[in-house]
Amino acid sequence: MALADELFREFRSMSVSEFFRKNAAMLGYTGRIRSLTTIVHEGVTNAIDAGEECGKLPNVYIRIENLGDGGRYRITIEDNASGIPEKYIPEVFGKMLAGSKAHRNMQSRGQQGLGISGAVLFCQTSSGKPVRVISSTGEKGIIAEVMIDVEKNKGKVSKKEEFDPKGWMGTRVEMEAKGVSYNRSKYGAFNYLRLTSLANPHVQIELIEPDGTKVLFERVTEELPKPPKEVKPHPYGITADDLLRLAREKGGERKSLKTILVKELSRFSDKRVRELKEKMALILLSRKLETQIEDLDKYLSEIQDEEEKRRIKKIYSGFLSQAAKILRKEARYLNWEEADLIVNAFSRMKLLAPPTEGLSPIGEENISRTMKAVLNPEFVACVTRPPKTYRGGIPFQVEVGIAYGGQVDEEGIEVFRFANRTPLLFDRGGCAITEAVKSIDWKRYGIDPNKDKVALLVNIVSVHIPYTSTGKQAIADVPEISKEIRLAVMEVARKLMRYVKRKKREMEKEAKMKALLKYVPEVAKAMSRLTGASEEEIETELSELISKKYLSSEDFSEEEREEAIKKEEKVILISNGGGLDEGSRKEAETTRE
């Protein structure tokens, strides 16, 4: 006993803050540029979310100051939202895994409650400085300095004072970090904000850069996106474990399980309870008979013995009452096997797809407007696909904008990736969006993926975005999502193709007439020599022939002409291939003596 006890003397537990202090890279704090971009991202995300939640058009102000001393920067982010009530300030900034979103089934930019507190953690461990929060909920203003008590994962307010906001509402956060850097590269905060603006046309962003330059990303629409709603979980997307938790959480007041199911799940009403019971009973029966539920019908129909039939019917009735009993029981006493049975039964029912009120896409018109404003292209097409679900029950929606030509400046296809309107700058390679765009056969749409100037905006909105890692920079390759992205991209590509083709056709008709006229003098001269007829006369007649064809109705129908071209091509093909007779061609290849 001594040995084990001795060995376990060192056993202790660690707070989540401590964990992320040691593993800051997992939150995106890696590299000087990226670390600063991550801080800006966390602040801006919160600012926009806050504005939308309180129904205001968000104005976000960002100031980045270089304080010298080996990459010490102050980052200030201010919003015009509802402010934070005093008692939540330590929680919001000082406690990791705390927030108002993770446990609610709705679309939001942040999700895990790791964002702003992660930034605070990074700042305090790198610079030693607390974060300064100035917030007003309208009547009272608070200035507070917050640090994280890492061992306890708790916010600690070191200084606090009140002030009169004079009507101002909002939150201003001042953070100081060391070992970071700012520039206008692809991965820098500037580009992050530019792209944020692209996907959030209702947001006004003002940036003061370290050298004092003021950059304004203007609001393109006054229309606030319809606020995302919380959506109840859908029976398809729920696991036995989820159901157990739900029953325990919501089942406090002696509520029956049935009540909980009907009330807390979407698309599941009283009317479906009977069917649920039947499915439960069928599952139990198939287990009893040791057959697959799919084969049950066949199994039963093959039984000849009436006695046996009756026996099985009886067993089934027994299971039906057992199922009913389960649904009647108090929700909080639900056990895992029962939950598993119910989830299993859900998966065999036909239910309506989950409601999509939780989703808030940018919208085709807005995408179009913002892409025109920011990229100034020759052509824009957008599509917002209807909502879909993945993994059984998680709603998501894909939207794609395509911009072509004009001042789109890079050759090739540039892809701007967004998740819930938040730009994804890093881990491009591992992202399902990149893969989906790559997999498109662009040539089929008449687009040269290396030469044509094309910009794509892809935004995925969902109650739960499946990121590949805590860094939240790449979307996992979930088949349902990848497929939607492909369909959306193909849809806008088709629109672009139609545009390019129409443009080409117009230009061609005129060119054709000119082309034919060019040949008239030579043809006339040769015909004159062969026949002795007047060259001038022939020239006139040929020109008239051409005018007749292109200015009035056409001599040949389009089909006829195509047929003729095909025919002629065949001949051309042969006469080119065999222009030199084959012998002399071969001769040119080998001289053998």
């Binding site: 062969l530 022939l545 065999g578 071969k586």
Partner: protein, 361 residues
């Protein structure tokens, strides 16, 4: 008026008629695709079928070629009228020029004018030589033959037995040649220049009383026409001696019948009664040349398989020969006999083959 001139004028007049009727002028050109070529087994000649395509001035896809065809046609008329001959390249240069108010030229390069000339040949059913356009020149003649060539307004008498090892260079155009005197039993057609020279050094033609023609690879049209005329006008049997490989067979095939894509010329250029002397696959065994063979290349195999389907190789002897090669996957060259001795071909192989008439049809 020569036939050629008449046909050219007809072509122009037909077009003018169309134009006057308010229609797009066109040229009718028989299709030269494989599907429109057939083997006339009675005359043993490849012939063009009935299918033809029309080249319209008013069809943008045709227009430029239409113009080019007319340009060539009117130039040919000029040549014929002056009695002069132009090479393919001369034609290109004579007709290449900028189109008015345009950066476009009438002919970008010769690969544009050559096919148009072919189009005209087949459209008018005339050899390009009859249109006074001369092709590439290649090939030599040696032997007891006296020719007379008419050059514009002068004639020359050529004695091909007095030319040492050099021989007479066969011109591209042999239409103006007459045979004055021939003392020979047959024509031996030889693929390589080196073998021709070797046999000339041995004075094979003199010792064996024959005419020797070197093709130097694929025979030029002049050489093919000369062989044709020696067979039909002088009644000399023609024996073809090439390497034993699909390329050699193809040379033989062209002498005999013409190539598929110039099938319409067979009548004037082909010698269907020519015989294949060697080197054959069975010669490899008979003369024990196993050490001198080469492996077939992919291209050889492909060509051999193509040749197998040619109508004139659809006989027992040739099918056996081709199958044998495809089986053994080897080829054998004329000069392989040098491994025995330099004189072997002249003193043993050729006399033996000709004596026994050991030919393929």
């Amino acid at each position: 008026m020569k036939v050629a001139e008449k046909r050219l004028r007809q072509l122009g007049n037909r077009m003018l008629q169309e134009l006057k009727r308010g229609n797009s002028p066109y040229i009718e050109i028989p299709v030269r695709a494989l599907g429109n070529v057939y083997f006339d087994s009675e005359r043993r000649l490849l012939q063009l079928g009935e299918k033809s395509g029309r080249r319209y001035f008013l069809n943008l896809a045709h227009a430029k070629k239409f113009m080019q065809t007319l340009l060539v046609a009117s130039y040919c008329l000029e040549l014929i009228q002056k009695g002069k001959h132009a090479s393919l390249r001369d034609v290109y240069y004579a007709l290449k020029r900028n189109l008015p108010n345009s950066k476009e030229v009438t002919f970008q390069d010769q690969s544009e004018s050559n096919p148009v000339i072919e189009d005209l040949e087949v459209s008018l059913n005339l050899l390009r030589e009859e249109l006074h356009i001369s092709a590439d020149r290649k090939g030599y003649l040696i032997g007891n033959i006296v020719l007379r060539e008419r050059v514009v307004d002068e004639t020359f008498e050529i004695d091909a037995s007095q030319l040492g090892t050099g021989g007479w260079g066969i011109p591209s155009n042999v239409e103006e040649i007459e045979f004055l005197d021939i003392q020979a039993d047959y024509v031996l057609v030889i693929e390589t220049g080196a073998m021709f020279e070797r046999l000339a050094e041995e004075r094979f033609w003199k010792k064996n009383n024959c005419l020797m023609v070197a093709t130097k690879g694929q025979p030029s049209r002049g050489t093919r026409r000369l062989i044709h005329r020696l067979y039909y006008e002088a009644n000399l049997p023609v024996y073809v001696f090439t390497d034993g490989d699909p390329y050699g067979w193809y040379i033989y095939s062209v002498i005999k019948q013409g190539s598929i894509n110039l099938a319409y010329l067979s009548e004037k250029l082909g010698t269907p009664d020519a015989k294949f002397l060697g080197v054959t696959m069975s010669d490899v065994d008979k003369y024990n040349l196993h050490g001198q063979v080469h492996k077939l290349k992919e291209g050889d195999i492909k060509r051999a398989k193509e040749l197998k389907d040619y109508p004139w190789f659809k006989n027992e002897e040739w099918q056996r020969e081709i199958n044998l090669m495809l089986e053994k996957k080897i080829r054998i060259e004329q000069q392989a006999f040098s491994s025995k001795s330099l004189e072997y071909v002249a003193e043993v192989y050729l006399p033996e083959k000709i004596e026994k008439e050991d030919f393929l049809p």
